[in-house]
Amino acid sequence: GGDTAPGAGPAATTTAAATTPTPTPTAPKPARPEVILATTTSTQDSGLLDVLVPAFQKATGYQVKVIAVGSGAAMQMGERGDADVLLVHSPAAEEKFVADGFGVERTLVMHNDFVVIGPAADPAGLKGSKTVAEVMKKIADKKATFVSRGDNSGTDVLEKNLWKGTNLTAPKGQSWYLETGQGMGATLTVAREKQAYTVTDRATFLAFTGKSDLPILLEGDPALLNVYHVIVPNPARLPKTNTEGGRAFKAFLVSADAQRMIGDFGKGKYGSPLFFADAGKPEPVAR
């Protein structure tokens, strides 16, 4: 099953391919087998794609090239037609992307959630807080060190929104507010070293468990929902893209097989899944 540990090293590719139950290949060899998937680092760094992509390739004969960048960069690639399918988690930007006519068929795939973590000593006294708004206000009031990714990724966009939600002025430039400009993993390491608060997606956080000694201080607020959508670039606008391939991958992601793999991923290693399969469910509203 899909219990391949995230972070098991490059081995993940082969072992996952060998152990994943595969749907009987029905499709003939595709005309354009190369599909470029632009996605966020969390799907790659958590190891989820190491499970999904081989299964897809085996089933369909497509060759997926996974380009793991921030959601912002992924959508930039989409706008230029350099990607055939996007798997991203930055809802506002996604909506704009679709509204601007770059993407079509934006479909809900899965979610997990963001959590606020921080030093065990909790100098800002976040423990016991109920809402993320409360938490962010406490951090700002106490000027407690906070590490932001600052890289326009989905996580970063969400975090920026959280400050807005508390009606605080944007903390950028404050001495207690550090911007790493790096991915989630690196930012977690910085937070650990600086004994600082930060907002992270649960998948990466779990993958880093044992490497980060910062406990979760807040979770479960609906505002911390982390939703992943798949988008196919608009073939009318971007004729060079491999729309067929992109659609095939989209179809695969929402297929029952893939949804099961997503739901099972990480259970074995972390005791709880890293992602929750959402295909076919209504769009979550709370943001």
Binding site: P6, G7, G9, P10, A11, T13, T14, E34, I36, T41, Q44, D45, G47, D50, K65, V66, I67, A68, M77, R80, G81, D82, G183, G185, A186, L188, T189, A207, F208, K211, S212, K240, T241
Partner: protein, 232 residues
């Protein structure tokens, strides 16, 4: 510190079991860096010789460019090549982006200024009388270049090694244009970065150690040649 021991143990384990495709990744690293270094040598050595020896307009500008190019950040080189090779770019139709060939192009772009700059510096360090001797023998341009190159062979080897060192260790361009695709464009450096991003620092270090082993093997050629000359 434990991490270092872990890394060592992990490196040994990886090499023993071949886990994580470590052998195919190492082989790919070897192939890609050799081809890029070869291309850079093919372009850079004649250019370096020409800049050091010839007298033509723009020669100094070329030397300045090569010298400055030794500080060309891989990520910028990668981005430049990516802009060209992206589907939306002028060469997009070739479908080279995210292939080993794209990496070769970007890495050759990084290595060439290194080769040019160090080759030129090495040739300029030859005794001035040598040039007269060779010309006096009646050497045509090609023979002249060949004999000068022969006399400067150790310096040219150093230049090629500089190019090799530049590309074997870089990660920015490899990521950018190769995409770090498992089984296709993943090389030791990009694999190490992936492991860092995943928080597997031990594995990352292990991959780094394996890369160093490879580099030590290759650079032994240079060290041996230098030791032979030194013994005289």
């Amino acid at each position: 510190m434990d991490l270092l021991l872990d890394a060592l143990r992990e490196a040994v384990r990886l090499l023993r079991t071949g886990d994580g495709d470590v052998y195919s990744i190492t082989l790919r690293t070897a192939l890609i860096t050799s081809v890029s270094t070869f291309v850079a040598a093919l372009v850079g050595l004649p250019l370096g010789l020409g800049i050091a020896l010839g007298r033509f307009p723009g020669q100094r500008a070329l030397l300045a460019m090569a010298n400055a190019g030794t500080g060309l950040p891989p990520v910028v080189a990668g981005l430049l090549v990516a802009v060209l090779l992206w589907r939306s770019g002028p060469l997009g139709a070739l479908g080279l982006i995210y292939t080993p060939w794209a990496m070769v192009i970007a890495q050759a772009l990084i290595a060439t200024p290194l080769v040019v700059s160090f080759a030129a510096a090495g040739v300029m360090a030859l005794p001035p009388a040598l040039h007269l001797q060779i010309r006096a023998m009646g050497a045509g341009s090609a023979q002249y270049l060949w004999l000068v190159a022969r006399e400067a062979r150790l310096a040219l080897l150093v230049a090629v090694m500089a190019g090799f060192g530049g590309v074997v260790s870089e990660v920015g361009a490899a990521m950018m244009v190769g995409g770090n695709l498992a089984g296709e464009t993943r090389v030791l450096t990009t694999a190490a970065v992936l492991e860092v991003n995943r928080g597997n620092f031990g594995t990352a270090l292990a991959l780094g150690l394996i890369l160093l082993l490879f580099v030590i093997g290759v650079s032994a050629v240079l060290t041996t040649a230098q030791a032979r000359v030194r013994r005289r």
